[in-house]
């Protein structure tokens, strides 16, 4: 029996009169790739923002590893082991690739100002360890060549990868990926899909929002369909693919 990692219970979130997330419940088991699909504006990013603490839900609860994280601050949730990438990459543009990844390891270190100041040898050792680990992650993702480039000078695709590297540096238990293939060509999309499967092999659970349906069908164990903020369907890729209502939502009324 697989272990329960994340449980979302009856989540609601409004923006003024608009209900962006409506009574959404689902759970994510350890080790799986779960995808959330749905048309533009369905509330997918909002759902991610709720899980990672950037938005507070108006009602409902979020339970991670049997502990409620509802309403926790983002940095606290990161400490607990949830990391994410953003729909539009958010790198530290004025920092190098290596520095970006090193910042990603922040939670794995002691960041108390005073103790850092009072125990310089340990602070220095820690700094070295962070760097070694960051270099290692960059190597695994084959980013070593660009490690001293400023993030601002990278291509769109490279920025994606660096954002992945930074998210992995946190050694998360759960990784939220918001449209990792958006704006990439077929070849690059395949690379990202391979990377996601590799990450899963490392034991990291993945929750994925993606518009590229063929990629979603290829790599996910389970799929949730959101529409107008509501969970519309949930199941294995084969079942979702066969569901005529999902096809209607996705392709629009006229194509059905």
């Amino acid at each position: 029996m697989k272990e329960l990692l994340l449980e979302i219970k009856r989540l609601d979130r409004f923006f003024g009169g608009l209900q962006a997330v409506r009574d959404v419940s689902f759970s994510v088991l350890k080790g799986m790739v779960k995808a959330i699909i749905g048309p533009n504006g369905a509330g997918k990013t909002t759902l991610f923002n709720l899980i990672s603490g950037y938005l507070k839900p108006h009602s409902g609860s979020i339970i991670f590893r049997e502990q409620s994280i509802t309403g926790c601050k983002p940095h606290r949730i990161a400490e607990l082991g949830i990391s994410r990438t953003f729909q539009t990459t958010k790198l530290f543009l004025q920092m190098t690739v290596l520095e970006n990844v090193m910042v990603g390891r922040h939670t794995k270190t002691n960041s108390e100002f005073l103790s850092a100041l009072l125990n310089l040898p340990r602070t220095w050792r820690e700094e070295k360890q962070i760097k070694e680990k960051a270099v290692e992650i960059l190597e695994i993702l084959s980013l070593t060549d660009i490690k001293d480039e400023y993030a601002a000078n990278l291509s769109f695709g490279q920025q994606r990868w660096v954002e992945f590297a930074r998210a992995l540096a946190l050694e998360p238990e759960l990784l939220l990926l918001d449209e990792p293939a958006a704006g990439l060509n077929i070849y690059e999309t395949q690379e990202i899909a391979d990377l996601i499967l590799k990450i899963r092999e490392w034991g990291i659970t993945i929750l994925l929002v993606e518009h590229d349906i063929s990629m979603v069908m290829d790599i996910s164990d389970e799929i949730i369909v959101l529409n107008y903020g509501q969970k519309f369907a949930e199941g294995k890729p084969e079942d979702i693919q066969k569901n005529p209502e999902v096809i209607t939502i996705y392709l629009g009324e006229d194509n059905a």
């Binding site: 940095h75 990161a78 920092m95």
Partner: protein, 296 residues
Amino acid sequence: MSFELLFQYFLSGITVGSIYAIVAVGFNIIYNTTGIINFAQGEFLILGAMVGITLSPFLPLPLAIILAVILTVIIGALIEIIFIKWLKEPSVLRVIIITIGVSILIREAMLHIWDEKVRALRYFTGTEVSSVTIFGAHISPQVLWVLGISAVIVICLNFFFKFTLIGRAMRACSANKTAARLCGINSKRMVTFSFMLSAGIGALAGCAVSPLTQTQYDMGASLAIKGFTAAILGGLGNSMAAVAAGLIIGLLEAFSISILPLAYKDAVAIALLLIILFFRPSGLFGSREKSALKEY
């Protein structure tokens, strides 16, 4: 004008200039993590110097200065915690007005504690009459102390922001707050750190310059204006450029004395500030795109 005199002007220019530079760097540290200008920055220098002056009769000078810095750091932290931290997503304007209020508060408190008397910390080495001769110009050893301490502050800060965990975390916050929080950085705590850091370097600079310029409770405002001019001239947020800009302003001021009446000294910096704000708001060294890059 003789070479010695020119050199004398030059040295006095870079001495005050280096203090403006430290004030400007203090502005930038807080600006980078919060997007606000802390108008109490000048008060940190005066407060640090006053505490140092008060402690110096009882303690060895280095110890008095260290304690003055520590106390100012604590006050910097308290100011942020009491007046800013608890605000929920305050507007930049609101926080700036708060810092102006805080600067008045500190100034009034200093007036009560230390009255209006002009005081000075004792010279770090020698007395007011000792001098060293460099290229024929006689200068106080304290000038060398000020320049040395300013240089050390700037170098240490560079090291801090590049090679330490907290320094990098502060830069990350200034580069992209959302992403910094994702990495587990408590951005509110970084704001407190930034106030502590700029209070600390302010206090140290205030102590260093006190024997030369002397210290009075209300001198912070004019330092803040000069430092602000330097920060703007360098392009807000760019600390290295601010150092250069601080030195430029110090030099301009020093040489203006040879053409303009002494009373116009302060006007030089303010005129410069207005000119920059009109014609190059992104600073001499800053580019428009780069300042647009900042997200707040």
